[in-house]
């Protein structure tokens, strides 16, 4: 049985989506903690009633995937289900021949009498919160999410629930994101100055999510733009299935180096301190990440500019997202889990820290990846 709910949204000037919850789907106070609808097992977030796993980090029979980042979408499951916009990336990363079924946002489906639907998480293209309903009880597993509308991923939509599983990658009050438009202006201005002095602008960030967001929002381009292989492959993959992204030429060893003067180079952070980067000399380096909010984090990387741009919710947005769900119980996964759970409890929202394997291979883990490269 498929029921379509019409998602509603509108976006405020600051780029944060105003929260309009999916109406009338929660009968409160029905949280049955003796037989929880979702359980945290050593391999996944598991729904016993439907015998289905959400974002398992070990191979299982049936998995619902919130989004295509590698810490949430692991190799080796028999059957996958995800949002349709995740398909091309999942097949690229997990294998073209995986068994994968896709759904639209808000499209309901039932398994053993448990109702499921996916709702936009605003994190990256195709990212979804998983709504699970059984016997008047609603749980939402949010995966990773952000409230800022990034202009590419479908904007976050709050979903009313009894229990909410949240991330807490940036769960400290020092992390508050500037408006995206301001950051894009800063990046354009940095690029403009580098162009004037004949330098290449090497703009780094996570390949899936951050790069599409940059490509989308920096248009129309004021000069030549080139992509590193990792960025190029994803961009082409998404273009091939009809996403509205421009073609960005790939940098090869035959690309004429003269073309790099004043150009914008899009690349993953792993190129820092490698010989690959030398061919662009003279250049300036810029890095896009939520971690750039702290001067020390930027200075340790020995990059020229840090741009505070994150695909995760900041402190204020975590708070409003959680409040908007109306959940009686909150489970806190990757990030500052213990700190954030304590903060929620002190505010009178019952919360528990959950250890998962999430946050190992994306923005949450960038700090370490780069430190070791």
């Amino acid at each position: 049985m498929f029921i379509r709910l019409k998602p509603q949204k509108f976006v405020t000037k600051s780029g944060h989506s105003k929260l309009i919850p999916v109406p009338g789907v929660v009968n409160s106070n029905v949280l049955n903690m003796n037989k929880p609808l979702l359980k945290f097992t050593p391999s996944s977030i598991y729904c016993p009633a439907a015998d289905i796993h959400i974002d398992p980090w070990k191979p299982v029979d049936r998995a619902i995937i919130t989004h295509a980042h590698s810490d949430h979408a692991k190799f080796g499951c028999k059957h996958y289900l995800a949002h349709k916009d995740s398909e091309s990336i999942l097949r690229l990363r997990l294998g073209e021949d995986i068994s994968l079924q896709t759904v639209e946002y808000g499209e309901e489906f039932s398994i053993n009498g448990v109702k499921f639907s996916l709702h936009p998480a605003g994190h990256i293209i195709g990212s979804a919160q998983i709504r699970v309903e059984h016997k008047d009880e609603v749980w939402v597993a949010s995966g990773d999410y952000k409230l800022q509308d990034d202009g590419f991923a479908a904007p976050f939509e709050p979903v009313k629930c009894n229990a909410f599983i949240t991330e807490s990658t940036f769960g400290l009050p020092i992390y508050k994101w500037p408006a995206q438009a301001d950051i894009m202006n800063d990046i354009s201005e940095w690029w403009r100055q580098n162009r004037m002095t004949g330098k290449a602008s090497i703009l780094m960030g996570y390949s899936l999510g951050k790069m599409q967001r940059l490509i989308k929002n920096l248009q129309p381009f004021d000069g030549a733009v080139f992509a590193h292989g990792a960025t190029f492959n994803l961009n082409e993959r998404l273009r091939a299935v009809g996403h509205d992204l421009p073609f960005i030429p790939l940098i090869t060893k035959d690309t004429d180096r003269k073309l790099f003067r004043g150009a914008l180079i899009l690349a993953p952070g792993s190129v820092l301190n490698t010989s690959w980067i030398k061919k662009f000399e003279p250049y300036s380096t810029g890095y896009c990440s939520g971690w750039m909010a702290v001067r020390g984090a930027k200075n340790r990387k020995a990059i020229d500019r840090g741009f505070v741009l994150s695909d995760h919710a900041d402190w204020n947005d975590l708070e409003s997202a959680i409040a908007e769900t109306g959940a009686q119980k909150v489970y806190v996964t990757h990030g500052y889990t213990d700190t954030y759970a304590r903060w929620l409890n002190e505010k009178g929202i019952e919360a528990a820290e959950v250890k998962t394997m999430y946050g190992q291979e994306e923005e949450a883990a960038e700090e370490e990846i780069i430190a070791e490269s």
Binding site: P173, Y175, K176, V294, R295, G296, N299, R300, D304, T339
Partner: protein, 531 residues
């Protein structure tokens, strides 16, 4: 404030000297004069005194941000800087206000000196409501008197001299001394040519580089003077208009700390500026730097201290004579006048001439160099006989030729996180040597490793922690480092019974196991050898 904050951010973004100079130039060309003087004060290390306790700043910030203390500490742990943490947790500015200049903020802060806690709080909360996050960061730094910026005085001097068309020597001379930004104008300081109240102003010191390669490369020995390199406080003594001023190399006026030298007033000709070393002197030879250190920090110099640590000025150069700047005269000419001055003064007990070492061949000097520590010296200073007195660190005419540092192989036993940009890495280490089967800590050292090595050591520490005491981790004894130091002394304050001076990491001895590290016996042998 906006303009200064912008300058700060831009300076923070670049490591390139030329870019920094350009940024400084454009600031000093465009900022209002009353701001420039404050910026100069901050850039030259004249930090305004702390106006408010950091505990108060913290308390008020928590209140405004609406977060509990423990959450603030967690946040601080991730940022590593108090002023920055506060600037990040505060809500967005809520009040629109007129832009105030840096000078206006400083004068507001100055008024707080006599204000009640309530008034202080009002002032600061108001500022926080009006300023942007980066401005709050800079404001907090000013507030807590902890402003530090990655710009050397040399760069500031260069920028100012380029925009004013004066030589760097003139500008650095003008920037020296004890001017107060609250009562000095930028014009007076930078552009004034009259010497009215400039009697106290020292000349910039000529700083030497360490010699590279061997002395044979310096050419003919008869072109060079050789003197012992003394291990004391480099200082300048000025006698002008009947007053004496003693300056340390750190541009600190230390006249009051050396009363026994005030007698020079009666023995120097008017208009004399001397360069030399302040050291403590026993019957026949200099005492170690530690003795001098015992009196530097004291507010009251008791009779006992003056007896136990008598100070002497060893003169080795003359910059001004008869009120005339003679820095462009040749070294040998200046030396000749200096000798006359010291001899005529006739107060050998406190005012000595740094002797020239008699040598004909470089080899003689090399032989003597090995025995430098016997003469309580750190090595030699070599000065070209025809050299002018330059300003700042310059290559070519003066060279320092230091003895090799003392060194010992020691074991890493404790580690602590660094601060600022190293806030998340373990970079402060304590080292120990073997005393039979126990490891006895004897030195703390920070610098000396490459970033890559620091990363590796940090990785080791995080996985080999035996115990935690507050911020300090006890680390499994496994890593061996060669620790160099400049001096060694007996100490009752240290468990090892030994204190080393200027310890630093020379290299990571990955080739040595923990059992091959040195012993306390080895350290004690160095102690008796060099004291």
């Amino acid at each position: 404030m906006k303009r200064f904050t912008e300058l700060f951010l831009q300076l923070d973004r670049t490591n390139k000297t030329n870019e920094k100079v350009e940024l400084l130039k454009s600031y000093f060309l465009s900022a209002p004069d009353e701001d420039k003087i404050w910026a100069l004060a901050l850039f030259t290390g004249r930090r305004p005194p702390r106006k408010i306790k950091s505990s108060q700043v913290q308390e008020w910030a928590l209140e405004l941000a609406g977060i509990p203390y423990w959450l603030f500490r967690e946040s601080y742990g991730s940022v590593g800087d108090l002023a920055e943490t506060v600037s990040l947790i505060l809500p967005q500015p809520t009040e629109v206000s007129e832009e105030k200049t840096l000078a206006e903020w400083f004068s507001g802060l100055a008024d707080l000196k006599t204000a009640s806690d309530e008034e202080k709080k009002d002032f600061i909360l108001k500022a926080w409501r009006q300023l942007s996050a980066f401005e709050i960061f800079v404001f907090n730094k000013l507030l807590m008197g902890s402003f530090r910026i990655g710009v050397s005085q040399t760069l500031v001097t260069r920028a100012i001299s380029e925009i004013t068309d004066s030589t760097p020597a003139i500008i650095s001379h003008r920037l020296m001394g004890s001017w107060d930004p609250a009562s000095t104008s930028y014009k007076e300081l930078i552009h004034s040519e009259n010497a009215g109240d400039e009697y106290s102003k020292p000349y910039p010191f000529y700083l030497s580089y360490a010699i590279q390669g061997t002395v044979d490369d310096l050419g003919s020995p008869e072109d060079w003077f050789a003197e012992w390199k003394w291990d004391g406080i480099r200082s300048q003594i000025i006698y002008r208009d009947g007053e004496i001023y003693i300056w340390s190399r750190g541009e600190e006026l230390i006249t009051d700390k050396f009363p026994e030298l005030h007698i020079l007033k009666d023995h120097l000709p008017e208009g004399t500026v001397l360069d030399g070393e302040l050291i403590c002197f026993g019957e026949t030879k200099p005492l170690s730097f530690n003795v001098l250190q015992t009196r530097i920090g004291r507010k009251n110099l008791t009779k006992k201290i003056l007896e136990e640590a008598p100070a002497v000025f060893i003169a080795y150069d003359l910059m001004e004579f008869g009120g005339k700047d003679i820095r462009n005269e040749e070294q040998k000419a200046r030396r000749k006048v200096l000798e006359t001055i010291v001899n005529d003064a006739g107060i050998q007990a406190v005012f000595k001439l740094s002797p020239l070492i008699d040598f004909r061949e470089w080899q003689e000097l090399k032989d003597l160099h090995l025995r430098a520590r016997e003469f309580a010296a750190e090595g030699f200073m070599l000065k070209h006989k025809e050299a002018p007195y330059l300003s700042g660190r310059k290559k070519g005419d003066w060279w320092k030729w230091k003895t090799d540092p003392l060194s010992i192989d020691a074991v890493l036993v404790y580690a602590q996180k660094g601060s600022g940009r190293r806030a998340e890495l373990y970079t402060d280490y304590t080292f120990a040597v073997w005393d039979e089967d126990k490891l006895v800590p004897f030195a703390k050292a920070y610098s000396g490793l490459t970033d890559k090595e620091i990363g590796k050591v940090d990785y080791f520490i995080k996985r080999n922690t035996l115990e935690k005491f507050g911020p300090v981790r006890t680390v499994k004894a496994e890593l061996v480092f060669e620790i160099g130091f400049e001096g060694i002394n007996a100490s009752t304050r240290h468990k090892s019974g030994i204190a080393v001076r200027f310890p630093r990491i020379l290299r990571w001895r990955t080739d040595k196991t923990v059992n091959e590290a040195d012993t306390l016996q080895n350290l004690k042998a160095l102690l008796s050898q060099f004291n």
